[in-house]
Subunit: 336 residues, 2 copies
């Protein structure tokens, strides 16, 4: 059985291939009646246009590439899933690639995507992103970890952190510890600034900066745990009554540290996470966290690529508000 092509449709409908093509692409200059008939034949024959041939002529692949550091990270997984949804709504599909936070691999992936002539690339850059050479013809939008010179879309990490810390302040906490992300990370620094914003507003930051209320760590569970140990292993009236972390995984690690030290949560220690991954609602007790609007971010990224706006946010990234999700790891502080 030879594959059915546009010619077969044309022949059976007794029209030219041009007309069939115009029907396919919803070109206005086709009689409604004729259009219907051709559509009928198309369905009857089960004809689907060959995407390669199509793409070759139209220079459009209806493919979007997305490069992330690690799909095992629930935040990125949800990002990819949301992007896939958004893309599908526009007839686009997604090619995923993992960079493992390795700059060389990342460059390689972007190169692959470029030569595949995808219509756009969504990139969550690796932490040592500076080595990246921007691809020539393909529009690229950077997500989450903003890079100067590219249009960027992300959550408003700074403001989100501020909101989270202010929530703790409102509960009555004053000695609020902070577990930061790695200092090369752009969003990590934004969150740190948000924490400082909120703390300065209350008490002046001279006791804060460089003080043992701040611990630097990677975003993962284990780092959160050891950072938590560092912050909590002191006399009760010196250790923080609350800790704001830079990721949910850190928060969970920190919960374990507290648990191991015999510090009850939230009675003697409040903890707030960041991200709002599904895992955050699976802990005991359920984690209070600052939730990123992942779906909005993904949808905006896809939209930016498809609209091909003239680099709208090359210097002014688009930020989306985070939202506080109240769990069971926060309560007013106990008196010392």
């Amino acid at each position: 059985m030879p594959k059915v092509g546009i010619r077969d449709v044309a022949k059976l409908a007794d029209v030219s291939t041009g007309t069939v093509s115009r029907v396919l692409n919803d070109h206005p200059s086709v009689t409604t009646e004729l259009r219907e008939r051709v559509r009928g034949i198309i369905k009857e024959l089960g004809y689907t246009p060959d995407p390669s041939a199509r793409s070759m002529r139209s220079k459009v692949s209806r493919l979007i590439g997305i490069v992330i550091p690690d799909l095992t990270n629930p935040f990125f997984a949800e990002l990819v899933q949301s992007a896939e949804q958004a893309a599908a709504n526009h007839g686009y599909n997604i090619i995923v690639m993992t960079s493992f936070d390795h700059a060389a691999k990342e460059v390689n992936r972007i190169g692959q995507l470029t030569s595949r002539k995808v219509d756009g690339i969504i990139l969550v850059p690796s932490n040592d992103f500076h080595t990246i050479t921007p691809p020539k013809g393909v529009p690229i939008v950077v997500v989450d970890r903003l890079m100067p010179g590219y249009s960027g879309i992300a959550a408003d990490h700074r403001n989100g952190a501020r909101v989270g810390v202010e929530y703790l302040l409102k509960l009555g906490h004053r000695r609020i510890g902070f577990i930061s992300g790695p200092k090369q990370s752009v969003p990590a620094n934004d969150r740190l600034r948000g924490y400082l914003d909120a703390m300065e507003h209350v008490g002046g930051n001279q006791q804060i900066v460089g003080s043992p209320l701040i611990a630097e760590a990677a975003f993962d569970y284990e780092s959160g745990r050891s950072a938590g140990n560092y912050l909590l292993a002191r006399a009760r009236n010196e250790r923080p009554t609350a800790i704001f972390t830079s990721s949910d995984q850190q928060a969970i690690g920190c919960m374990r540290a507290a648990h191991d030290l015999g510090i009850p949560i939230p009675a003697a220690l409040s903890i707030v996470g960041f991200d709002g991954i599904p895992l955050s609602s699976m802990t005991t007790p359920r984690l209070t966290t600052v939730k990123q609007p992942i779906q909005k971010i993904a949808a905006a990224a896809v939209a930016a690529l498809l609209n091909r706006q003239p680099t709208p946010g090359a210097d002014s990234p688009v930020l989306f508000d985070c939202e506080l999700s109240e769990g069971e790891t926060t309560s007013p502080p106990q008196p010392d």
Copy 2:
């Protein structure tokens, strides 16, 4: 600047386009010397072949589609990531799609992939898979949830469950509870059978089947929690001293149930999970679990698609062994 095509390379190298094409595709019948020269020109001009044109002629897209129920599920996320790695090793890329366990959406996704002329499809079928019509020209390999009539690749769930339960038996447990997966799920039933295999071997199964040692549940956290409550809410000498669950998420939910009932783990209750997702090493205490060889499964799926073996496992699926990962949620039982 007009894009550089194969003709430009040919002209500059003073050869025919045919030769350039042969160099590109590593066709053996080209002088080593000539091959080198052409390669030089290619690099000099920064030429990359147009994948659309290429695919149109060769009927090969170097694209593999993967359809999974839910990328938020860490197991599937790791599966996709592993598949991407394996595919990349062969010069292939991955298009991901989510079916949300919805048969209609699944059919639609498969249709999209088929008309995109991907070279193969990796499918984790939705639970009501029976409505699927097999695509015509595209080879498809079913993973994890095996379907009769398709070549399938999966972990040996039955044997894995048996190994997990035997581990508990060896520790001395006898009243071993089981939280199953949904009964429409193929792997869930396999795990149940593995559990029964091990239990029958020890004590005969008449007290087991249909007894309150088995609880049916979905694979998620919340279901695991309520199933755990069901199994544990009885007198100490009647409730199980160990519970084998069908997923890590169930196990974690079950841990919470035990915690809420004041049952210490592993002192008064041992728990074993299934899957070996990253999350399993992040709990307190760290979960003992039966780990699926996800990378092997993914690599095998990709290989099966690329080798286009003559439907090797249409009736005999390829199974990979699971491995017990010992954590801190298991210990010998306390006397009643």
